[in-house]
C-alpha cells in the first residue's frame, strides 16, 4: 500500500513489519468478502449451470451432489445395478443394489463379486448413491429437437440488424444535432428527450397498440417492434451526445470551412473518433432485441415463426419440460449476452460509465 511507503523511514523495523501484517490481513479479508459476495450474488446461476448438464434421475435424487454427476452402475447378472454407500457399523462400503427390499436388501460388492450377495438390513431408500462427475448434453439435444432455435436466432439477427441500422444511424444524427448546433428553446428539447424516459410505457401503448393492430393491421409482423427505432432512442442519443461533446471542435470547423456539410462532417470527421461509444450503443441495442419479449408477446403471439429468441424460449415453458431442460434453455438464452460481455468487458464498462458524468 502506498500509504505506508513513506512511513518506512519513520518507523522502527518492528512496527513496520506489524503494519505490513495488518495490511496483508486487511487485503485478505477484503478479497474474501468480495468473492463471497459474488458467490452469494451469483448462486442461482450456479444452480442453472449445473442443472443444465444433469440427467433427470440426478435431479430427482435429493442426496445427489450439486454438480452434474451420474450414479455409478455395476453390471451384474446381465443388468445394470446402482451403487450405494452402505453402512456396516463404522464402515461404509460401496455396494451395488441387486434385490431391493423394504426392510432388507441384497447387494453385491463390485470389487469382489465372487463373494456373492451381501444382505443389509434397513430401507435401501435411505441410502446415499455413489456419484461420479458426468455432464450430459441430452438436455440441449432435447431443446434443439422441440424448439426451432436456429429460426429464432435468425429472426433475432435480422431484427437486430434492421432496427440496429435504423436506431444507430438516426441516434448518431440526432445526437450530433444536440451536441453541436443551437436549437430553438436552447436545451429545452434535450431535457424533453430525457424526460421521455420517465413516461410509463402503458400510457403510450394504448393508442399505439390500437393504431398498429386495428388501423394498420400490423399484428403478426415485425413492423410495430422495429419501426419506432428508426426515430432514434433517447438513451443512445444521450450517450452519443455526451461523447460528441467531449471531442474537440477544431477539426469539424476546419471541415465546415472546407465546404463540407454537417452530415459529411459528422460521418468523415466525428464518427472515426467515436467508435467505442458507437460499439457500446450497438451492443446495448443488440441486448435489447435479444431480450425482447414484451413487444413480441403483443404483436407476434399469432406468428410464432417470427419469434425472436427470448420470446421463443419463453414459450418453451408451455411444453412442460423437466426442470433440467428448462435450465438448459435458460443457459442457451443467456449465453450469448454473457459471452459478449466477457469478451468486451473493458469497452462495455467504459461505455456505461459515460452516462454518469453529466447529470
Amino acid at each position: 500500500m502506498p500509504v505506508f511507503r513513506g512511513l518506512k523511514r519513520l518507523l522502527t523495523p518492528r512496527t513496520y513489519v506489524q503494519l505490513k501484517r495488518w495490511e496483508f490481513l486487511g487485503t485478505a479479508v477484503l478479497n474474501l468478502l468480495v468473492f463471497s459476495f459474488i458467490f452469494v450474488y451469483l448462486f442461482p446461476t450456479l444452480y442453472m449451470l449445473s442443472a443444465s448438464f444433469m440427467e433427470t434421475a440426478q435431479l430427482r435424487d435429493r442426496n445427489a451432489p450439486p454438480y452434474p454427476a451420474r450414479q455409478v452402475r455395476y453390471d451384474y447378472d446381465g443388468k445394470e445395478r446402482l451403487v450405494y454407500q452402505v453402512p456396516f457399523g463404522d464402515e461404509v462400503r460401496e455396494l451395488a443394489l441387486v434385490n431391493p427390499g423394504r426392510t432388507s436388501s441384497e447387494f453385491i460388492d463390485p470389487d469382489n463379486p465372487a463373494a456373492g450377495l451381501i444382505t443389509w438390513d434397513g430401507s435401501w431408500r435411505t441410502l446415499v448413491g455413489v456419484y461420479r462427475f458426468h455432464a450430459t448434453l441430452d438436455n440441449f439435444a432435447t431443446i434443439l429437437e422441440s424448439l426451432r432455435i436456429g429460426e429464432m436466432v435468425q429472426n433475432t439477427a435480422v431484427m437486430a440488424l434492421i432496427s440496429g441500422i435504423g436506431v444507430v444511424v438516426s441516434s448518431i444524427i440526432v445526437a450530433y444535432g444536440f451536441a453541436r448546433f443551437p436549437l430553438p428553446g436552447g436545451n429545452l428539447l434535450f431535457y424533453v428527450m430525457i424526460a421521455t424516459l420517465l413516461i410509463p410505457e402503458n400510457i403510450t401503448l394504448i393508442p399505439t397498440y390500437f393504431l398498429f393492430v386495428r388501423v394498420l393491421d400490423w399484428n403478426g409482423t415485425w413492423l410495430p417492434i422495429l419501426l419506432p427505432f428508426f426515430f432514434g432512442n433517447a438513451v443512445y442519443i444521450f450517450l452519443l451526445r455526451q461523447n460528441f461533446k467531449s471531442i474537440p471542435k477544431e477539426l469539424e470547423e476546419a471541415a465546415l470551412i472546407d465546404g463540407a456539410g454537417p452530415l459529411r462532417t459528422l460521418f468523415s470527421v466525428v464518427l472515426p473518433q467515436s467508435w467505442p461509444v458507437i460499439i457500446t450503443v450497438t451492443r446495448l441495442h443488440f441486448f435489447y432485441i435479444w431480450n425482447e419479449t414484451r413487444q413480441a408477446s403483443l404483436y407476434l403471439a399469432i406468428r410464432r415463426d417470427l419469434s425472436p429468441i427470448s420470446f421463443g424460449i419463453q414459450n418453451y415453458q408451455s411444453l412442460g419440460p423437466v426442470q433440467n431442460q428448462l435450465q438448459a434453455s435458460a443457459l442457451i438464452v443467456m449465453a450469448v449476452p454473457v459471452i459478449i460481455l466477457l469478451i468486451s468487458q473493458r469497452y462495455f464498462m467504459r461505455g456505461v460509465l459515460v452516462t454518469g458524468i453529466e447529470k
Partner: protein
C-alpha cells in the same frame, strides 16, 4: 473567424440543428406526445377495442369508476411499497459493491466488476426459469442449500405470493449493474486530495466514507436512484431485459394490461394509465424537490 462562419450564424445553424434532430422530434411526436394526448382523450370515453365506432364521450365517468369501484388505492399502495422494498436495497447494494470494487487492494478488479455486472444482462426469461428452478421444493437449491441448513422451514410451493415478491426483490438486485458502474465511476473520479487532506486531519475510514465520499458522489447516487425508480415503474433505462415474470414489472402496469388485453376496455385502461402517469410524475417531482437538500453539486457551492 471560423466560429462565426460555422457555428454562430444562429438562424441557419438553428435550422440545421432542427433538421438533424428531426428524426427524434418526429418520433417523439408520433410515439410519445400524440399517444399521451390520445390516451387523455380516450380516458374520457368508453372506447372498446372491438367496437371503436360506438365510442361515446362519458366525461369523468372512468375516473370516478376507477376510484370508486376498483382497488386503485390498493394499487397505489402496492406500487409505493414496491418502491420502498426495492429501491433502497438496490441503492445500498450498489454503493456497497461500488465501494468494495473501488478499493485498490482488490485483486482482479476488472474481472470482479464484470462478475457483479453479469446478472444485469441476463434476459428476463432466463431469470424467470432460473428462479423457479432454484426454489423448486423438490429439485431446487433454495431449500436444500440455504433454508434447511439454516434450520428454516423450506418453501413448499414455488408459486405463491411470497415467492413472487422475493423474485421481484432478487430481480431488482440483479439489475444494479449500471448503478454500480455509475457510482464506481463517480468514486474513481473523486479528487484524491480531499480524501488525503481528511486523512491527515485524522478522519477515520468511516468518517471519510460518510462525510466526504458519499456527499461528493451524491449526484451519481441520485442518477442511480432515478434509474432504479423508473425500473420499478416498468420503464427502461440503459439495459432492458424485458421483464417477463408478470408481463410487466409494476403491479399498476399489470392492472392496466388486464383492462387492455383481457377486457379490451381501452377507455378505462387509458384513465388508469393517466392516474399512473400522474403518480409517477408526483413521485419524481417529489424526489427532485428533496434532491436539492441532499444532492451536492460542487459548482453551486452548497451541500
Amino acid at each position: 473567424m471560423f466560429k462565426r462562419l460555422s457555428y454562430t450564424r444562429a438562424s441557419t445553424s438553428k435550422a440545421v440543428g432542427l433538421l438533424l434532430i428531426s428524426p427524434w422530434l418526429i418520433g417523439f411526436l408520433l410515439f410519445k406526445f400524440l399517444p399521451i394526448v390520445a390516451s387523455l382523450g380516450l380516458s374520457f370515453t368508453d372506447f372498446y377495442m372491438l367496437a371503436p365506432e360506438e365510442t361515446q364521450f362519458v366525461g369523468l365517468a372512468n375516473y370516478i369508476d376507477a376510484f370508486q369501484n376498483s382497488p386503485i388505492g390498493l394499487f397505489v399502495v402496492i406500487t409505493l411499497s414496491a418502491i420502498i422494498s426495492t429501491v433502497p436495497l438496490q441503492l445500498g447494494a450498489s454503493i456497497l459493491f461500488a465501494a468494495l470494487l473501488n478499493s485498490s487492494r482488490l485483486k482482479l478488479p476488472v474481472f470482479t466488476r464484470t462478475l457483479f455486472f453479469i446478472p444485469s444482462i441476463i434476459p428476463g426469461v432466463a431469470i424467470l426459469f432460473m428462479w423457479f428452478g432454484f426454489i423448486d421444493p423438490n429439485t431446487g437449491w433454495l431449500n436444500r442449500f440455504i433454508l434447511e441448513p439454516l434450520g428454516l422451514l423450506g418453501v413448499e410451493n414455488a408459486f405463491t405470493d411470497s415467492t413472487f415478491a422475493l423474485l421481484a426483490i432478487i430481480s431488482s438486485l440483479w439489475s444494479i449493474g449500471p448503478g454500480i458502474l455509475i457510482i464506481l465511476g463517480a468514486m474513481q473520479g473523486m479528487s484524491k486530495e480531499i480524501i488525503e487532506a481528511a486523512r491527515v486531519d485524522g478522519a477515520g475510514p468511516m468518517v471519510r466514507f460518510f462525510g466526504i465520499t458519499l456527499p461528493v458522489i451524491s449526484p451519481a447516487i441520485f442518477f442511480t436512484l432515478i434509474i432504479n425508480l423508473i425500473g420499478v415503474f416498468g420503464g427502461v433505462i440503459l439495459l432492458d431485459r424485458s421483464s417477463t415474470f408478470s408481463g410487466n414489472s409494476s403491479p399498476f402496469g399489470n392492472l392496466i394490461s388486464y383492462w387492455m388485453f383481457d377486457e379490451w376496455e381501452l377507455g378505462f385502461a387509458a384513465s388508469l394509465a393517466w392516474i399512473f402517469f400522474v403518480l409517477v410524475l408526483l413521485v419524481i417531482v417529489f424526489l427532485f424537490r428533496t434532491s436539492r437538500r441532499w444532492v451536492f453539486y460542487p459548482d453551486q457551492g452548497g451541500a
